[in-house]
Each structure stands twice: as C-alpha cells, then as structure tokens.
C-alpha cells in the first residue's frame, strides 16, 4: 500500500470510505491469514484499540485539530493548511548516528511500506479520538542510520516557514516546534512514523507528509510535518515544556492520576460521544509500555 504523490494517484485507485469500512468488516469476519494475504500488507493491530473503540469519523479526525502553525482554533488547520507544500520534502537525520542522511520523503515511503495501526489519541485538553493510521515503526527507520552508543534521546523538528505556516507569524509558541523521546520510547514497537490515515495520504492539517505517533502520550508529543530528526546524548528541549514547564513535562504520558494544573485528566470526551469516559493509564497501552517507566516517580516526571 504505497502512498504516492496526489498527482499520480488516479481517483479510481483511492479507496473510498464505504469501501474502506466494508474491507474492515470483511477483515473482522474473515480474520484469517488467507484474507490478510489477499488484501495486502495490513499490519497487525499492535496495541490496537479495544472493542469499545469505534473509529472517530474521518471528518472529525481531519477537521478538528491542534496544529498551531496554522492557527490556534480547532478548525483553523483544516482551513489554512492548504499552504503547506509537502513535495518536495526532505527529512534530515543527524547527530549520534553512523550514517547521517537527508532523506527524500518518497524514498522513505518506498523503503517502509505503511501498515495500518488503529490507535487511541488522547489530547492533553481531555478529548480523544480513535484513528486508523498508516505508518511504520520509528525503530525501523532509525535502525538504518545506525544510532551510536551516544544516542540517548531523539529530537524531532517541524518545518519552520512562515510563508507555508502562517501561524508561525505569531509567537504563540517558540518556533520551530520541537519534540523529543527517550531512545527506548523511540525504539518501542508502538511508536510510529505516520504517512496516512483512513487508508489515504495524510492530510496537511494532520501533519503531512510525515508525523510521529506515540499513542501512550498526550497528543502534542506526536509532532507533525517533521523535517529533522536528531539523535542526541542529553534530554532535548520540547516546545510545550519550554513554553510552560509547570504544565507540560518532557514525558507527558497519559496519566489520569496526574492532573494538568488547570484541569482534571481523570476523564476525557471521546469525540462523537456524548458522555465523558474514564481516562486509562498510558492511554490503555500500559501492558506494553509501563515497564519503560518502572521505578520512576510519574508525579515528578509528568
């Protein structure tokens, strides 16, 4: 399932949403290796979403976004992100690696056929979605540049270009947006680089052409429109932490026990649902990630 340039995808090649749903039902019903082989490289729903996790509608996933580079309103990114040019696009990988390289986005996509992962996404603002991403493990990508023993953290950087990202004209946040992960978090099999959602190429407002997905952390950790990945020895700066260190920590793991100083993180509103629901520790991915933080005081390292 190679995601190509919009210009060379024929309309007939794009799976429309009803087909997409039929395919999902078909997959659910068949659930056999033969069926999987027949539809191509759909990844295992690693970590996945539970039976109560209905997919959030495509229009909500692509119409309600936090992407301050295109405005601070939730509907601003969908309105404004058309100015972003996602081709040509390069991603520079540098720092503590044996093989630093500037990758072309199409080269990255060709080398890492996207698999589908359905993940819960929990925003620090206490709302959440369930999104079928297309992507590949960040670990696979990092292995090819051969991190050295000095690589203890990974820092990510978003494009900085006020022409393409008009929201950067206002100093709402320090630009460019930067994020970071500890090496073990970056290498965790749940951590993705996403190139699409709902079987389609990633819309600009969702962080095209390449974004991070770390499903057990608050959404702002999942940096969008990445142009640089730097492997470093010390804990890197992260934008929201710099902007307000009292409210946003480096780790920012989803944690119902640790409130945001100004609001509770105990419950969340699933977009499309009327009533709030309980927020799960590590956004429900504790079985797979809790061991990364054993012995750490999560009240302190929030």
């Amino acid at each position: 399932m190679l995601i190509r340039h919009p210009s060379d995808i024929k309309a007939s090649e794009i799976t429309d949403e009803s087909m997409y749903w039929n395919r999902r039902q078909f997959l659910g019903a068949a659930a056999g290796a033969a069926a999987l082989a027949a539809v191509g490289p759909i990844g295992p729903l690693l970590g996945g979403a539970g039976k109560d996790d209905e997919l959030t509608p495509y229009d909500a996933v692509t119409g309600y976004n936090n992407f301050y580079e295109f405005g601070t309103g939730k509907e601003d990114p969908a309105r404004n992100a058309h100015t972003l040019r996602t081709r040509p696009w390069t991603v520079a990988v540098e720092g503590a690696v044996m093989k630093p390289k500037v990758f072309d986005i199409d080269e990255i996509i060709a080398a890492h056929p996207p698999e589908e992962r359905v993940y819960r996404l929990r925003c620090v603002e206490a709302w959440s979605m369930v999104i079928p991403w297309l992507g590949f493990p960040l670990a696979d990508f990092l292995k090819q540049v051969e991190p050295t023993s000095k690589a203890k953290f990974v820092q990510f950087e978003t494009l900085y270009d006020v022409e393409q990202m008009p929201g950067q004209r206002r100093n709402v946040l320090p630009w460019p947006y930067v994020e970071g992960l500890r090496m073990d978090e970056a290498m965790h099999p749940l951590t993705l680089l996403a190139t699409g959602l709902y079987g389609k190429e990633l819309p600009n407002q969702n962080g095209a052409p390449l974004r991070l997905i770390v499903p057990w952390k608050y959404g702002f950790k999942s940096i969008k429109s990445i142009v640089k990945i730097r492997l470093v020895e010390t804990q890197p700066m992260t934008t929201w932490n710099v902007s307000n260190p009292r409210e946003y920590g480096f780790y920012s793991n989803v944690n119902p026990e640790v409130d945001h100083p100004r609001w509770s993180q105990n419950r969340e509103r699933r977009i499309g649902k009327l009533f709030k629901q309980k927020t799960l520790m590590f956004n429900g991915y504790g079985d797979q990630v809790a061991s990364l933080y054993s012995g750490m005081d999560l009240q302190k390292y929030f």
Binding site: Y68, E125, W127, K276
Partner: protein, 211 residues
C-alpha cells in the same frame, strides 16, 4: 417621534433582536450540524464568550452616555445586562448538563481546585442578585443608593469573567487580553470622564461669566 419614543419603539426592540442573534446562530448551527467535532466545547465557548462580551456592553453604556450626552441610552442598560445574564446562564447550564452531566462531585472539585472555574463560578454567583434586583420594584425597595452600591458588583463579575477566560486558554492569550483591554478602558473611563466633564463644565462656566 420624540427621542424617548424612538428609543422605546425602535432602538430597544432592534437591540433586543440583535442580542438574540447569537442564540439563533447557536440553534441553527446545532440543528444543521455546523458545530465543531466537539460540539459541547463549542457551545460552552460560544455562550461564555457572548456572556462576557455583552457584560462588557453593559459597562459601556454609562461612558457612552456621558460622552455622547444621549441620556436615552440608560433605557437599554437593564435589557443588555439581562441578556448578558441569559448567555452566562446558558454557559453555566451547558457545563452542568452537557459537560459534566450533573456529576456534582466532579463539579465541586472543579470549583475548589481549578482557579479558572473558581472565578467563573464566583462571577456567575455575583450576577444572580443583580439579575434578581433588576426590576423597578426592587430598585424602589432597596432604595437607589443601596441599589447602585449592590450593582457595583458588576465590575467584580466582569473582572472575574476576564480571568476565567484568560486562565482557560493554553497558549494563545490574544483574545482574552483584548477583552482585558476593553475592561480596563471601560473601568478607567469611569475615573476619567467625570473629570473631563467637570473641566468642561468649569470652562463653559468661566466662559459664560466673563466678569
């Protein structure tokens, strides 16, 4: 048509209809599915914003009256104030019913632990006696002096509304700060305008008495 009649039959009904518009838009967008993907948040933000905007509108009446000399404006103030209270009530009801769904334990925790909710809730509570005593009968019963003293609470409520908004936003403080500037201008106008008028009166007095 006298000025009084113009206010009573034309201007006041027009302002009444204009202040109903935000509610009409809200109903329209709810029915046509034009709220955001998080409709409860959208309703909460819209009603809160209109409540604060219209509350600042009531504070603008006195300075406008003094500056323009158009005394009929005072006849609009109670209605505008009650509209502010109407939107604040919608805002509060949205929080209780749609956002928290009567979860009183969570709401009590919010009021105690979250400063932006503490000030917002306080402002709402302060507006209640103002709405209750807005009738002519209540003005008489309280006596004009007590009534005006009580209604000074509107300044506290408006300031609370500003902090409620400011402390809610994550990083983009532009909009709440614009409200804050408006509030400071409206409050400082109360200190400045009487002086201007007094000076003007003094000037005109001395001009008319050339001894």
């Amino acid at each position: 048509m006298t000025k009084g009649e113009l206010t009573k039959w034309v201007i006041k009904p027009a302002v009444f209809l204009a202040l109903l518009l935000p509610a009409a838009w809200l109903v329209r967008d709810t029915l046509t599915g034009n709220l955001t993907a998080n409709p409860i948040e959208d309703i909460t933000h819209r009603t809160g914003r209109w409540g604060l905007t219209i509350l600042l509108g009531t504070l603008a009446i006195t300075p406008l009256m003094k500056l323009s000399g158009w005394s009929q404006l005072i006849r609009l103030r109670r209605m505008i104030g009650l509209f502010a209270f109407f939107y604040v009530c919608l805002h509060f009801a949205t929080y209780i019913v749609l956002d928290q769904f009567f979860s009183f334990v969570d709401m009590a925790a919010d009021v105690v632990k979250r400063p932006y909710i503490t000030v917002g809730f306080t402002s709402f509570v302060l507006l209640v006696p103002l709405a209750v005593t807005s009738t002519k009968g209540m003005v008489k019963r309280l006596g004009g002096r007590n009534w005006s003293r009580l209604h000074k609470l509107v300044y506290v409520a408006a300031a609370g509304g500003f902090f409620h908004f400011l402390w809610l936003v994550k990083a983009d403080t532009r909009d709440p700060i614009l409200y804050g500037i408006a509030l400071v201008l409206l409050l400082s106008s109360r200190l400045l305008i009487p002086r201007v008028q007094a000076r003007r009166a003094a000037v005109s007095r001395s001009a008319s008495n050339p001894l």
